[in-house]
Symmetry: C2
Subunit: 91 residues, 2 copies
């Protein structure tokens, strides 16, 4: 079994108004930073995955996104996976 680290980014769909992002944008402008705009806020989730290979690890994380981490009606998600280290235990 190998260990992978997964980085999941969950963002609101483009068509949905991001109220939190708008609020942060207003705050930035109040702080005299008018060069920053179109702020959108999402979630970043890091987790460790034990799986025999990278495909299986991606599948497990994708399953978690659909079932728990993201709301597929309102949110999009992207997954990045990299191998951490071999634990030496056979899969």
């Amino acid at each position: 079994m190998k260990q992978y680290v997964a980085h999941v980014t969950v963002t609101l769909r483009r068509s949905i108004l991001d109220v939190q992002g708008k609020t942060v944008e207003h705050a930035l402008h109040s702080l005299h930073m008018p060069a920053l705009k179109d702020v959108r806020i999402g979630k970043h989730i890091e987790l460790h995955v034990a799986a025999p290979d990278k495909d299986r690890a991606t599948e497990l994380v994708d399953d978690a996104c659909r079932k728990l981490l993201a709301n597929p009606v309102m949110e999009d998600y992207s997954i990045e996976i990299r191998e951490l280290a071999d634990t030496g235990v056979p899969a």
Copy 2:
């Protein structure tokens, strides 16, 4: 003036207990996904920056992170910047 898109990832420092992450981990295990662990939850912020060059854009976003987006006592942040398109307006 060029347009850049910045992706900022704000995460809790390693030494700080991530209660939200722990809760998500328990939920994943309740959903019969024991292969997923060490969940840590952070923020993902996407924003557009108008700046004469990439260094200046990074500086502006770094400034925003220190002043508003991240809490430097408890959180770490990383910034990724890429150029979006030239607006044709001289800097």
